[in-house]
């Protein structure tokens, strides 16, 4: 390991601009003649739009234009789509309702946009938006996914009868039933995976800019995947062909999945710019809009059962889930409760048969799509709550029950598509139990009891799948896109290097970790390397960043391009030093002739490639290579988490007294950045389990938790000092041996925490978020039952 190479704790190159307030976000961009767009949004969860009167708004000071859904339809601007086809068990395709960027006739959730007001200033646009008169005819609404398909529930889209989008299954139902018929013990559980609001620090924003002379659009946007945004806006929305649409994602302040998707506002700002004569139109969400209209996460209602034989080995698993997709199908929403969820239901365990049924439903709520972990937290919650509950019912140690069922032979084919490539689940469990002093827990519990506190300990042994892949496989499962990645490595004549990647960094530190890989390969300092991303005019097509894919897929593409650069440079170096190509080695930033003292520095070979005065016969000038990398499999990060809590029974307040995370992410490029990712993931997972709950009023469909006054984001003092560590099995599926670390914390932590809490209070059911009120009420009802 060099000072800046693989495994080095290199400080983040991007921190200078972020820490000194010099980041450049979408809202920092000021274009000539720019106007400001504000949306008129539905105050109702479900209503017919009888009429919209824009005449008063149009006369307000500074107003440049007021545009409605009817104008949008008249201009034949297409609707937004969900890009992953799911088929129901009867073979029918999912029932996708139309999703115009501005609703014309029906609004389906509080916040659904019906018009955009464009004015000289943001305040003028706000004032005029209040003057747009919309005549609504309120309709009954449904927000509870468990009630959406009930007889008499309000019909939300004509395309989806009974609000059922699909009724999908995976696994062998008959074989699974057979396993249950032979079971010595069956554990059953009912769970709600609570709905979450992503709350990236930077709210969503867009600037649409239309160049009339060139008939060319530019979109500045808070997006995690600018090329996919361009593709959807071209191919489906029909805004412009791809060569007439540039999408720029400048610095983006967090996404957590919520900025993967193509939202109505991007479409509206681009179209509005054209409608107002090419003046740019900027929209920046305020925090209330973020709460109301960012795609939310999770929202599952699940019944699950696990069957054991007499030796406590798992025979089978059956799961039935209702997934709330909200009022419209967001870009990748259909894949989250299916292929990103049910394919992980085998956990870390050898389970002969699994059968899962998923009903996805429409409700009058904000769309639901991928949020940090996307399906995998939901799967892990099911599996790990089941294992802990089963251990209690069977009277065995929860750690030992898990260990008894671990997968130990690799590759391992699960009954739900996934083929695990490598792992050592004993290693991470051993590390976590040791670090947590698991054996010493009974004494700590007794000591806490003497102080009147209730102490509990809980485990979670999670597995996830990252770097969604290979393209052919995901295509066969319904994905509308390939999930490869691209890279271009440009060596400049002076030897500095630009790496163009189709991934996008919005907190992941690519500018640092990608540069470390260049240093590892070529020996050049990281400060001579720059990472370019986030602009479709600069970077070749790429698929963006989500699903912890940037290292496993994106850096693998970089790695392949580096191979090509190295091969060409070695050939040139051999020519220049009159040596055999096979004798050239690249060491410490120099090309050397093995066994001699002859050497050329990296930058000398680069310069020679560009002067082209002396190239080998047939070699083209320059030193620049492109590569596309399509993974051969998902990667499978896994780990064991131990959470220990202490409850104050007087108030129901939970203190997390320790949280141990032992993760296997494969090889690690920068441990400091990995620890940061784990800390952030744990904060969000603990947030889900203890603090965060998105609540809609079931009667009115209003979002009750529409601000930080009611939606509880984790703060530093809600969290313990985390004890994080890693174990390592090298990922065999990519040239770097990496697996991905961005989501693990959010995936593994909720069940560990709820298992600890239920251990402390002595009952198996406890809803998330386990607020003090809920814990207190659970304790009170337990003591009432005991009395």
């Amino acid at each position: 390991m060099g000072a800046e190479g693989f495994g080095a704790r290199v400080l983040r190159k991007e921190d200078k601009r972020f820490i000194t307030g010099r980041g450049r976000y979408t809202d920092d961009i000021e274009l000539k003649d720019m106007t400001h767009g504000v949306f008129v949004r539905s105050p109702h969860a479900h209503a017919k739009v009888r009429s919209i009167d824009t005449s008063a708004a149009e006369k307000m000071p500074g107003v440049v234009g007021v545009l409605t859904g009817h104008d949008l339809a008249a201009d034949k601007i297409g609707g937004l789509i969900c890009g992953w086809m799911i088929h129901s068990r009867d073979g029918s395709p999912m029932k996708m309702g139309a999703h115009p960027a501005l609703a014309a006739d029906t609004v389906r959730y509080v916040g659904d946009a019906v018009a955009i007001v464009v004015a000289e200033t943001r305040d003028q646009a706000r004032d005029a938006a209040e003057a747009v008169e919309v005549d609504y005819e309120e309709l009954p609404a449904v927000t509870d996914p468990a009630k959406a398909t009930a007889a008499g529930a309000p019909q939300i889209h004509p395309e989806a009868e009974g609000n059922l989008i699909y009724d999908w299954t995976i696994g062998d139902e008959a074989a699974t039933e057979g396993q249950f018929a032979n079971a010595a013990h069956v554990t059953k559980i009912d769970l709600v995976n609570n709905r979450l609001v992503p709350n990236a620090m930077e709210p969503r924003a867009a600037i649409g800019s239309y160049d009339q002379a060139e008939e060319h659009f530019t979109l500045y946007n808070t997006t995690q995947n600018p090329h996919v945004a361009r593709l959807v806006l071209s191919a489906f929305v029909g805004m412009a062909p791809e060569h007439k649409l540039r999408v720029v994602a400048p610095d983006v302040g967090g996404g957590f999945g919520s900025k993967i998707f193509i939202y109505p506002e991007e479409t509206a700002c681009l179209w509005a710019s054209r409608k107002v004569g090419g003046r740019p139109v900027k929209w920046v969400a305020d925090r209330t809009e973020a709460f109301l209209t960012d795609a939310h996460g999770r929202d599952h209602v699940t019944h699950a059962e696990v069957a054991f034989d007499a030796d406590n080995r798992v025979l089978g698993l059956r799961v039935k889930t209702i997934a709330n997709l909200g009022a419209y199908m967001s870009t990748f929403s259909s894949s989250v409760p299916t292929y990103l969820y049910a394919t992980l239901l085998s956990g870390q365990y050898a389970i002969p048969q699994i059968f899962a049924e998923v009903q996805a439903v429409y409700t009058n709520t904000s769309p639901v799509d991928a949020y940090r972990g996307a399906g995998r937290p939901e799967a892990t919650f099911v599996v790990e709550r089941l294992m802990e509950t089963a251990a209690r019912e069977l009277g065995v140690d929860p750690a030992e029950l898990r260990r008894k069922n671990f997968v130990r032979a690799f590759p391992h084919q699960t009954p739900v598509i996934m083929a695990y490539d490598a792992g050592d689940y004993d290693a991470s469990l051993d590390a976590a139990l040791k670090a947590a002093d698991y054996a010493g827990f009974p004494a700590r519990r007794a000591e806490a009891e003497s102080r009147g506190k209730k102490r509990g300990i809980g485990l979670s042994c999670y597995i996830e799948a990252c770097g969604i892949a290979p393209s052919q496989a995901v295509g066969s499962l319904g994905a509308g896109v390939g999930l490869w990645e691209s890279a271009e490595v440009r060596v400049n004549p002076v030897g500095t290097i630009e790496v163009l990647t189709g991934t996008h960094s919005h907190g992941q530190s690519h500018e640092t970790t990608f540069a470390q890989i260049i240093n590892e390969r070529f020996g050049v300092p990281t400060d001579t390397v720059s990472i370019v991303h986030g602009d479709t005019d600069k970077v070749q097509f790429g698929m963006g960043t989500y699903g912890s894919r940037s290292a496993a897929v994106g850096l693998s593409a970089v790695f392949k391009a580096l191979d090509k650069v190295e091969a060409k440079a070695k050939k040139l170096a051999a020519h220049l030093m009159e040596a055999a190509e096979g004798d050239i080695v690249l060491e410490d930033g120099s090309f050397k002739v093995a066994g001699t003292d002859r050497a050329l520095a990296f930058h000398e070979v680069a310069l020679a490639a560009y002067t082209a005065h002396n190239l080998p016969e047939g070699m083209e000038p320059g030193l620049k290579e492109t590569s596309f990398y399509d993974p051969t499999n998902f990667t499978f990060p896994a780990g064991s988490y131990v959470c220990e809590v202490e409850i104050d029974p007087d108030t129901g307040v939970t203190e997390i007294v320790q949280f141990v995370a032992a993760d296997d992410f494969g090889r690690i490029i920068n441990p400091m950045i990995v620890e940061g990712q784990v800390h952030g993931g744990l904060a969000q997972g603990i947030g889900q389990a203890l603090l965060e709950g998105c609540v809609y009023d079931h009667e009115s469909g209003q979002l009750v938790t529409a601000s930080f006054m009611d939606y509880c984001m984790p703060r530093a003092d809600d969290l313990p000092s985390f004890n994080v560590m890693t174990t390592e099995t090298v990922c065999p599926g990519n040239p770097l041996g990496v697996k991905g670390c961005g989501e693990a914390g959010a995936i593994g932590s909720p069940p560990a925490l709820i298992n600890a809490l239920t251990d402390a209070i002595g009952r198996n059911d406890l809803a998330m978020p386990a607020t003090p009120q809920r814990v207190w009420a659970a304790l009170r009802s337990s003591s009432a039952a005991a009395a």
């Binding site: 305040d123 706000r126 004032d127 209330t288 007087d650 108030t651 603090l691 609540v695 009750v704 938790t705 930080f708 006054m709 009611d710 939606y711 509880c712 984001m713 607020t771 003090p772 009120q773 207190w776 009420a777």
Partner: protein, 266 residues
């Protein structure tokens, strides 16, 4: 926020005159509730008359057994005041629990008290400590000043000048925070005054704002100890119920926080 006109008042008379000249004016004293409300366009005063630069509203003094806090004193000034810390440490501690550092450096005691947010901390302090609210027109006991949720005895053009507190024999404040907003879901000020009388004032929990618990006061007058209030409960019927705490939970917290406040008072 809608457009508004900001005025800096130089004296009490100036403040009253400026408010009187405004179409729909409001006094501003820190603005930690009002400005946030205006930013959300839920309030739209035409004029704001800033009271915080008026000399009579500044300063904190200790005179004998009386602590007097100028209405424009920030929470930070109350929290760090030697006079408050020596005579009523529980009040200094309470001020340090309000909001976050930014709020504590902008928000004022007068502004908070005039707003009478049912989840604010100061109402419990004023009622518990038997404070007197001095305005440009009169002096009111805290019991008379707070008249209900977001309601006070203040008239339209009445300005709080200062608040005076008798130094108690002992006092303790315990707050249970709303997990999201961190406002008080239940805050209890338990006080034994030097005349021997006992006051227990509760904020955050009552559906009518700050309230006293006479049963607890009687029990504590006879026996100043946490155990004295451990079995005294308030009725859930009078409590706020919301997402974060049912009336039953809040009623329960009143007893728990009262016990802890008495323990903290020593």
């Amino acid at each position: 926020m809608y457009a508004t006109t900001y005025h800096k008042a130089s004296s009490l008379d100036d403040a009253v005159a400026k408010l009187g000249g405004a179409e729909d004016g409001k006094f501003l004293s820190g603005g930690q509730t009002l400005l946030a409300t205006m930013k959300q366009r839920l309030a739209a005063p035409t004029d704001l008359v800033d009271l915080t630069k008026i000399p009579e509203l500044k300063g904190i003094t200790l005179d004998g057994d009386t602590v007097t806090v100028g209405a424009a004193s920030t929470h930070y000034e109350v929290h760090s005041s030697d006079a408050v810390k020596s005579a009523i440490p529980a009040l200094a501690a309470l001020a340090g629990l309000i909001g976050d550092p930014a709020v504590r450096n902008m928000g004022t005691m007068g502004g908070s008290v005039a707003n009478n947010d049912p989840a604010a901390d100061y109402p419990a302090a004023l009622v518990g400590l038997n404070a007197t609210v001095h305005t440009n027109k009169r002096a009111l006991s805290a019991d008379d000043f707070f008249t209900g949720m977001f309601e006070t005895a203040l008239e339209e053009d009445e300005v709080i000048v200062k608040i005076s507190f008798p130094a108690p024999e002992k006092a303790g404040y315990e707050k249970f925070r709303n997990p999201a907003s961190r406002y008080a879901m239940c805050g209890v000020m338990a006080v034994k005054l030097k005349d021997g009388s006992v006051r227990v004032a509760v904020t955050g929990a009552g559906s009518d704002g700050v309230f006293r618990v006479p049963e607890m006061e009687q029990a504590l007058a006879a026996n100043w100890s946490p155990d004295a209030v451990a079995s005294i409960t308030v009725s859930p019927d009078d409590m706020i119920g919301d997402l974060h705490g049912s009336p039953e939970y809040r009623a329960h917290l009143v007893t728990v926080m009262a016990k802890r406040a008495v323990a903290a008072a020593g």
